[in-house]
Amino acid sequence: MTDVAQHPAQQGRSLWADAWGRLRANRAAMISIYYLIFMAVICIAGPWFTPHAFNTIYQDYNRVPPSLSAYPKPEMIDQAVKDAVKRARVELDGWKEEGGKILITVSSAKPIDERMTRYIDRSSVFENAAVVDKPADGLRMTLGADIERQHFFFGTDTSGRDLLTRTLIAGRVSLSIGLLAGLVAVVIGVLYGATAGFIGGKTDEVMMRIVDVLYSLPFIFFVIMLVVFFGRNFVLMFLAVGAVLWLDMARIVRGQALSIRRQEYVQAAEALGVTRTGILLRHIVPNLLGPVVIYMTLLVPQVIILESFLSYLGLGVQEPMSSWGVLISQGAKNIPSANWLLFFPSFFLTSTLFALNFVGDGLRDALDPKDR
């Protein structure tokens, strides 16, 4: 008898392992998972590698369209030179570009101050301006400056900030709010729903009646009130969002907890004399996990949409910070002149939502016992 026990027993395949196997077989879901990882990585790490800070303003690059080649374009140099010279109140005689440097010749009725190089430097197109040649009368001057080469792969926004960096930074905000607020909603919802479902009876009735009342309050009103209370604060924002979205979770978890409590294996455990804690930990929680995981993947896109919606209304993330919702709202205001402002953030948001959707569907197919 004992020798049997000493043999290593065969390892079974748990439902989790089964589900994982099914998920791995689901191409759309796996591609979506990789896409989400990719998205998370570029949003977190990307801003350190882009050549611009998310809040740097390039005056001369207002709403420039996305381009793979570097700025400034020739006609922009002309404009930038004209603008800088104009600001210095001197006449422009001509300019020419050689090997990444520019030579500007100016003249004036009065002698020209050498400090006018500052006007050139102030333009975001040029740097290291210096006097190259200055005739004795001081009425003419030739200045040399480096042309600052800038890449704006996604173009710039209305204030001249790099859209690529801003989109990535916005992604950080949107994704982390989605995840954190989703987590907040899940934690509140699971605790609340499981308590109601497990205790049952009158407690359950009262707790669910409260949920019903909160449900019947207009949703937007509730969110706006929370935002008003918490202020337009990035950190508290996700608390507000999470605090609103827990209602569905609570209902789902309660329903599940109630149905698990009625399962024969829970009756069997009660007959064994297992304590409430034991039943909760060994039977209810593990069997609740599946629906919770599924719902969480469906909740995250909801949170992201809600956050974008609030940001769109101007209630969410505030300048100079950004989220996809903020960017989209700015983009919507600038069609048709600068449609890339709408296009890029929309693409990022929508593709992420799609991927989350596919992962959620994949998880549901993988975990749903009906499939078995």
């Binding site: 065969q10 079974g12 024969e264 009756q267 007959a271 039977h283 069997n287």
Partner: protein, 534 residues
């Protein structure tokens, strides 16, 4: 010789599933003559239902049928739907196992009866209506005209099955296929429906294919039998001949799967271990702030039980008789009134905490081997969960060892103890559930329909296991079942319950062979009228 109306040749059914293709039927041939009743017998998964589903073109969308199913020369396999529908429902009809769900819940039974009549016979509403009422009378539905306006939910399971039969026969078909039509019904209702079908078959002279797992039914109504296993017919023949001289070992095993033997009562000196006096369980229905006082329903009404050491009391009754409720009340899993004594101690008023140590002695095995095991725990964890409560001091290693021993006791391979419930068969799962109960060395085990969800052969093995465990450990059983043959083989004392009260009790032979109470008489007649060995 009557002409052949249906002939199946080399029928095959294949299902494409996520785990690859599954062949449910592997080349079956059979035929049915006019006015003949043919039974197809087999256990679950033998392909008997899928064979007839394929014939009727009713396979699920992932199923594919091949072969020839010839109805009077027309091959039904691959027939265009429009043509198939001139035969289906008109010449061949089918009724199913699930009386509760086989009717559309949203239409009156009158509407549902008239629909196929109007469709196939092109009758007007008036003519169809009178035909429908005629059919309802034929299947003995009282007040047929008034019942036309009833919805299915307003009828009992037996009545719904009668309506199904009426719908199937309304167009005077040549052939009726009945797929386990009585399995989901209580014994007394089962007998009535069988009687009705046999009578109608003779009166109307149609052919009938009867799919069942129950050999008693076959013996009673079939002219010829096909025995199916793993998608193939293993034996066929005239009913009487096949029962008298089964040739195939599987047929023999099936015939011998009928539980046999008797249990001797324990000595009169055996101590009384579990005593219930005047046990009453009542449920409140409705009630609340606005809806007035609740209705109190007595599921168990002043029942007294006395279980002695080594005894098996069989509690029999149909669904809703209160037999499971009584057992749960005796184990204090449900609140009840009345006195309950265990081992000489009054336990009726003990609270949850005080009951906990006693749970070790009072165990239960539930009916559903799928639902009673937590799906996310290994079999070993499930079996040893009680040890965590009652012997918390023993180490994980010792627990594993105890699990292995318990597995051996219920004749399961201990190497399987780290597997999960879904990796076991129904019979194996029920063994795990039994191991979970006996690992605690209990004195009393309640067996709540432990074999009802299992095939006959597996059932027999589980019964033998339970009997062995009883004599080895001097256990006392409270055995709840609606299956009288099983109860007779297990119990030395029988209680018959109806509507929450015990109508009759005594030794198995007395109660079963000489029932006194009219209900018991009906029950016994329904269960044993057709069996030689019952």
């Amino acid at each position: 010789m009557a002409e052949t109306i249906l002939e199946l040749k080399d029928m095959r059914v294949r299902f494409s599933t996520l785990d690859g293709a599954v062949d449910a039927v592997k080349g079956v041939g059979l035929h049915v003559k006019a006015g003949e009743t043919v039974a197809i017998v087999g256990e679950s998964g033998s392909g008997k239902s899928q064979l007839m589903m394929a014939t009727m073109g009713l396979l699920a969308s992932n199923g594919q049928a091949a072969g020839v199913a010839s109805y009077r020369g027309t091959n039904l396999v691959g027939l265009p739907k429009a043509e198939l529908n001139t035969i289906r429902g008109r010449k061949i009809t089918m009724i199913f196992q699930e009386p509760m769900t086989s009717l559309d819940p949203l239409y009156t039974i009158g509407d549902q009866l008239m629909e196929p009549i109007m469709h196939h016979q092109k009758l007007g509403a008036g003519a169809a209506r009178s035909r429908a009422i005629e059919m309802l009378k034929l299947v003995h539905i009282p007040e047929a005209g008034r019942r036309m306006g009833s919805y299915p939910y307003e009828m009992s399971g037996g009545q719904r099955q009668r309506v199904m039969i009426a719908m199937a026969l309304a167009n005077d078909p040549d052939l009726l296929i009945a797929d386990e039509p009585t399995t989901a019904l209580d014994v007394t209702i089962q007998a009535e429906i069988l009687e009705l079908m046999a009578g109608l078959q003779q009166r109307l002279g149609m052919g009938m294919v009867f799919i069942t797992h129950d050999l008693n039914i076959v013996k009673r109504i079939a002219h010829r039998v096909y025995v199916m296993r793993y998608g193939e017919v293993v034996e066929e023949g005239e009913t009487a001949a096949l029962f008298a001289h089964p040739r195939h070992p599987y047929t023999r095993a099936l015939l011998e799967a009928e539980p046999t033997g008797r249990k001797a009562p324990p000595p009169a000196t055996a101590p009384r271990i579990l005593d219930g006096t005047g046990v009453t369980v009542s449920f409140k229905i409705g009630g609340g702030f606005l809806s007035g006082p609740p209705i109190v329903l007595k599921a168990v009404d002043r029942v007294s039980v006395s279980l002695r050491q080594g005894q098996t009391i069989g509690v029999v009754g149909e669904s809703g008789s209160g037999k499971s409720t009584l057992a749960r009340a005796l184990l204090r899993l449900l609140p009840s009134e009345g006195a309950i004594r265990f081992d000489g101690r009054d336990i009726a008023r003990l609270d949850k905490e005080a009951m906990r140590p006693l749970r070790k002695e009072l165990q239960i095995v539930l009916q559903d081997p799928f639902g009673s095991l937590s799906p996310r725990m290994t079999a070993g964890q499930i079996v040893t969960e009680g040890l965590l409560v009652h012997e918390p001091s023993i180490s994980r290693r010792d627990r594993d060892l105890r699990a292995a021993r318990a597995f051996e006791e219920v004749q399961l391979d201990p190497l399987l103890r780290n597997r999960y419930p879904h990796e076991f068969s129904g019979g194996q799962r029920q063994r795990i559930a039994i191991a979970r109960a006996i690992i605690l060395k209990p004195k009393v085990v309640v067996l709540d329909e432990p074999t009802s969800a299992l095939d006959r052969q597996v059932q027999k093995q589980i019964i033998e296991l339970l009997r062995d465990l009883q004599s080895a450990n001097n256990l006392s059983y409270l055995f709840i079942s609606h299956d009288l043959a099983v109860v007779r083989a297990m119990a030395d004392h029988i209680m018959v319950m109806k509507n929450g009260v015990v109508v009759e009790q005594g030794s198995p032979d007395d109660v079963m062979d000489h029932p006194q109470d009219p209900y018991t008489q009906r029950l016994m007649k329904a269960a044993f009228v057709n069996t030689a060995n019952g």
